[in-house]
Symmetry: C2
Subunit: 364 residues, 2 copies
């Protein structure tokens, strides 16, 4: 059923440039409705008792934020009663209803999020997510042949990896899994081999310094040169971006010299044109010298819960990159992650040397 959602979105945009959001969600939700009913039909045909349940039937209650609703609660009574009868229950992901019986959809990554939320509501032992790869790897095997599949990874690591470019799970589903402590088993649709368990942190994990190297090529950088360093300047720069739903990833502000500073941030490449236009306007108003755009950048990150208790991890990353002559343009860190923005052409090289430096080929 690939392409069904695109077809529905296109129908909506044929009717209105900015379709009513309530109606949009009720329209888009038919995509999963078609998939689950066909799957249940197929199971029935094969001799299994199966039933599809839609958001309103599975009682998946969400808030009223159309197109990006959050699950508030699931009344699992109907599901449990079917399970008790031995029925295979096929539940439509990505959709729910709000308190007023309106159909809502969960937005990007919504289907994984539905699965994890259902596992939590049913107090399931584990939530299997079947995807196109057979687990979570130390890095992208298509770039680095030494990549190893991880048998286990903590919620926090998975979250940082998902946010910094690993595509295997959407961050929202991992947040949900962490919140309700649902073990998530990432498995292949096409093979019984492998799999990675995303679970709570344990002693074993903490012994490892780094669990993965990720990269994100969907990055573009904007620098505003010689911004007068006054209170409220950052708000004036970033409010227009927020109003246009442009998500800003990293933000770096240089130390102020003579009352002026440089401000650099990254956005998704698809947003760069609009972001540049908005920033040019504000830059003129606030008396900045100029705005520079660089679309040829990428972000490479290392992630690991062990970082918390191991000193010198960031320094080792910088030294490794420097040794290859890779210039670091921006740095951002969290407790369990270090990210470096660099010229895009260095992406593969950086991934490979970091994978070697942190001996990830010895992980499992």
């Amino acid at each position: 059923m690939a392409g069904e959602t695109d077809r529905l979105i296109s129908l909506a945009h044929q009717v209105a440039d900015d379709p009513d959001e309530r109606e949009y969600d009720a329209l888009i939700s038919t995509g999963e409705q078609i998939t689950v009913t066909l799957l249940a039909m197929m199971l029935n045909k094969l001799g299994y008792k199966a039933k599809s349940l839609l958001g309103f039937q599975a009682k998946i209650l969400t808030d009223q934020a159309y197109k990006k609703a959050r699950i508030l609660s699931i009344n699992a009574k109907a599901i449990k009663s079917e399970l008790k009868k031995g029925t295979i229950v096929v539940i439509a992901g990505f959709q729910g209803i709000d308190a007023e019986n309106n159909i809502t959809t969960l937005g990007r990554g919504g289907s994984d999020t539905s699965a994890v939320a259902l596992a939590a509501a049913l107090r399931a032992d584990v939530c299997d997510i079947f995807t196109d790869v057979d687990g979570v790897y130390t890095t992208d095997p298509s770039i680095c042949s030494k990549a190893r599949r991880l048998n286990k990874i903590s919620y926090d690591e998975m979250l940082e990896m998902a946010r910094s470019g690993a595509k295997v799970l959407q961050p929202r589903s991992v947040e949900m899994a962490k919140k309700f402590q649902v073990p998530v088993y990432v498995r292949s649709t096409f093979s019984d081999e492998g799999g990675t368990l995303v679970t709570k942190e344990d002693k074993e994990m903490e012994r490892e310094v780094v669990s993965g190297v990720t990269y994100d090529r969907d990055q573009a950088k904007i620098t505003i040169v010689r911004v007068p360093d006054r209170a409220g300047i950052a708000a004036r720069l970033f409010t227009p971006l927020a109003e246009h739903n442009i998500i800003v990833d990293m933000i770096i502000q240089n130390a102020s010299i003579d009352g002026y500073t440089d401000l650099t941030f990254t956005v998704s490449r698809k947003d760069i044109k609009q972001a540049n236009k908005l920033i040019e306007e504000v830059a003129k108003d606030i008396g900045a010298q100029k705005v520079e755009v660089d679309e040829n950048v990428a972000k490479v990150s290392i992630v690991g819960v062990g970082m918390v208790s191991h000193a010198g991890v960031a320094a080792k990353m910088f030294a490794t990159l420097a040794h290859e002559g890779i210039n670091i343009l921006m740095i951002s860190t969290s407790e369990i992650k270090v990210s470096c923005v660099m010229q895009a052409k260095y992406t593969e090289l950086a991934v490979m040397v970091l994978h070697d430096a942190f001996e990830l080929d010895k992980r499992s």
Copy 2:
């Protein structure tokens, strides 16, 4: 959105020859879901406040007869509350939910039936049905140029006309309108002109003998020759047809001679091959002489509430047909209808001469 339902049906049949009916209904119901959400989007775009409501949201409760469910009740509270706010409510027809929250569909003519049921539940003054013609005619204008649009017609007449070939309204919706005494106004989607009110019988209607001439070319005739005339024979012949969902229209049994009779009946042309096969088997078993099939027949009917109090209407019909040399193969009558089966080639001629004979060009 023409073709959407066909696409969904084809998807189901790709999965299973005989798809699970519960899942089939949940799948097929997405067709109207797409239509109503797009319509509500369009209205919102034009500046009107509009909301789509699906079966479960409009609380259209049906029985559990998937694919041909009947509406049991409508809890109009949600609809009324939206109407009070000035919202244009766009309700998905053809669908409902049963007492266990399963999605059901109403089968053929279901959308008109939904409309009439909603009008009844809301105690509406009138139910407008917008269709591709501008009303109900004395006969098909494409066959008879003298056809006149009727301003008013009774429920019973409309019902007989729909059953005997007029395609403007489905019989089920008319039954529903009659049951709840909902006036139905049949109007054109493409023009503000014209329209026919389907309403309860009045004095004026009774003065007219005949209101319309209808025809149905979707007829095929089977005759079983020299059937031993014993109790239970008819049941043995027609039970296999019922089991295969073949609807038998007219049945004629000749007077028995020497313990043998001929039995003739009509079915829809699409069913004739299967019906013939089933009947051949039984005919052999019961010792009938042979089975004859005629696919080149049509049914022409006259309908009118005035027949009840006017003698000689059927006789006038037979005489009119005889005068043109049209041989009548089968006859069936009800209180307000006379139907004659004839060779299909006479259909147009029969319609025209009957239209003249009963002076329908003078009706309004």
